[in-house]
């Protein structure tokens, strides 16, 4: 089973909604109360704390605020639902003792709330290999004086050791570099996109050879009345059947070469 990250973005509050029931009626799922835990990186280790127990059939919302008493600042907080409490301190991400489903995957609601409303998606997060890379074509920017656009790059790796890398932003049509940002592993990297001065017909391309991430795009009006949150597909999702992962490899090699990465 996967982790559920508490999201983080400017002027909104992140939260996770977990449900203790199976998403289907045929894959194995224990009908018992489960432990709700939070795992976060600290000084090269993963720290896990149990924050409650969720009876079978029930729902629990965990907000960033309630975690802030023991998790500092913008540290990545990962919620999990398990049959036993994971080890309190570990060098690698704790292995979660819980049920796993596939059609569909067990998911939680990953949300951001403003004072007015909320935006969310159903998701989960599994660790990326440390040699992973990123290729994201992102047609999500919205253009209005009152609208702010952000990229939330979510990375998770087995090791809690800190490392950093770079993400570069191009106009896909002109292969010209529009910006470059430092990113960190085991983090939600918040990148403001409006300063890159993209035009409406231009297609932003985000690439990194240093780490893989989930690229989540967040748009909001300044007062938080209107929001949008969605991630781009990994390149493998542009094809179906056959050797999809070879197709992803081809696309990454082709575009990394185009931008001389």
């Amino acid at each position: 089973m996967s982790f559920y990250p508490v999201l983080n973005a400017p002027n909104v509050k992140g939260w996770v909604g977990v449900c203790n029931f199976s998403p289907n009626n045929w894959e194995k799922y224990s009908r018992v109360a489960k432990f709700v835990n939070v795992t976060y990186p600290s000084k090269g280790f993963w720290i896990t704390k149990n924050i409650g127990k969720l009876p079978y059939g029930k729902y629990k919302k965990v907000s960033h605020q309630e975690l802030s008493e023991f998790i500092p600042g913008n540290t990545l907080a990962l919620i999990s639902l398990t049959l036993t409490i994971p080890a309190e301190v570990s060098k690698s991400l704790p292995k979660l003792n819980t049920d796993k489903t596939t059609i569909p995957n067990s998911r939680a609601t990953l949300g951001l709330s403003s004072k007015v409303f909320q935006t969310s998606y159903q998701g989960e997060l599994d660790p990326f290999p440390s040699q992973g890379t990123l290729l994201s074509f992102a047609p999500f920017l919205q253009f209005d004086n009152n609208v702010k656009n952000f990229l939330l790059l979510i990375n998770l790796e087995e090791s809690a050791e800190n490392r950093s890398g770079k993400v570069k932003v191009y106009d896909a049509n002109k292969d010209c570099l529009k910006g470059e940002f430092q990113i960190f592993n085991n983090s939600i990297n918040v990148i403001p996109l409006d300063e890159l001065s993209f035009m409406e017909q231009e297609l932003p391309l985000f690439v990194s050879k240093d780490m893989a991430s989930i690229p989540l795009y967040f748009s909001t009006t300044e007062d938080g009345s209107y929001m949008s949150l969605e991630h781009t597909h990994p390149p493998a999702s542009l094809v179906v059947h056959g050797k999809r992962w070879d197709a992803q490899k081809f696309l990454k090699n082709r575009w990394f070469s185009k931008v001389n990465l």
């Binding site: 045929w26 919205q142 049509n173």
Partner: protein, 272 residues
């Protein structure tokens, strides 16, 4: 009392039980035609309150260069799954093209339906990998003229277009009745609607059940017959103290819904 081989037997029974649910019941079938291009069946909503947009990307040119411009065929279906419009749109390479799907909709087609976006060809390298190019991209919606669009991506390789232009639905059917238990809490502070598409080539009986978190009991239910490529919008009944959740019963391998939550002018849209 534990006997020798007990765990082997238990494991065998479990494997057999899972096999009943998986054998010859894929989530989607493989298109017969290697030249076939694939699309999701996206939901469109068009009315005084709703507008639907789609981000057209030249996915073919992401894989290969060509001298000529590529295009997409957009096929629009009404709520009952009948094709009502086909439109060809030329694409700009490596650029964004946002189209307003609602502007293509005629009032007589109703205010909800589905649409598919087929790219002009399956790129050579994709064909060589035994794969088919798929459009599962980005729809967005506005509600009551909201200032920004709310995006949601497609999920399923629901339909393929063949060389003769005909379409074939690819959704997998289940032998046994399945439950899709949406892992989400519908609260009382918004209006929630869910949309479901039948991506299979046979009519399906679908039951929507709304269950109270507090009582654990069904507080609302609706049974429909959903034709191939058809869609249905179901409004979630709220009012329960601790919120409600949704169960979708059907013989679809995965009845994944699209959820629209609105509060005045605000909109949150996401898939299960």
């Amino acid at each position: 009392m534990v006997f020798k081989g007990q765990f082997v037997i238990i494991k065998f029974i479990e494997r057999f039980r899972v096999l009943i649910w998986n054998w010859r019941q894929p989530l989607t079938v493989v298109p017969k035609n290697l030249n076939g291009v694939v699309s999701d069946l996206f939901i469109w909503r068009a009315s005084n309150e709703w507008e639907t947009y789609f981000e057209l990307l030249d996915v073919v040119s992401l894989f290969e260069d060509s001298q000529s411009l590529n295009f997409v065929d957009i096929k629009i279906f009404n709520k009952s799954g009948f094709e009502v419009l086909q439109k060809k749109i030329t694409l700009n390479k490596n650029s964004r093209q946002l189209i307003n799907i609602s502007n293509l909709i005629s009032e007589e087609w109703g205010n909800v339906g589905t649409f598919a976006v087929f790219h002009s060809k399956n790129p050579t390298v994709v064909k060589e990998l035994g794969s088919n190019i798929a459009e599962r991209g980005y729809v967005s919606y506005t509600h009551k003229n909201s200032l920004i669009r709310s995006y949601v991506h497609g999920n399923l390789d629901a339909v393929t277009k063949m060389d003769d232009g005909k379409i074939e639905l690819l959704g997998g059917a289940s032998f046994l009745q399945r439950k899709y238990n949406l892992q989400y809490k519908f609260s009382n502070d918004a209006v929630h609607e869910i949309a479901l598409v039948n991506p299979t080539n046979k009519q399906k009986k679908i039951t929507f059940q709304v269950v109270s978190f507090e009582k654990g009991k069904v507080v609302d239910s609706k049974l429909i017959q959903l034709k191939p490529a058809a869609c249905e919008i179901f409004k979630i009944k709220t009012g329960e103290l601790d919120g409600v959740r949704l169960i979708i019963k059907s013989r679809l391998v995965m009845a994944r819904p699209l959820i629209f939550s609105t509060k005045n002018f605000n909109l949150n849209v996401f898939h299960g």
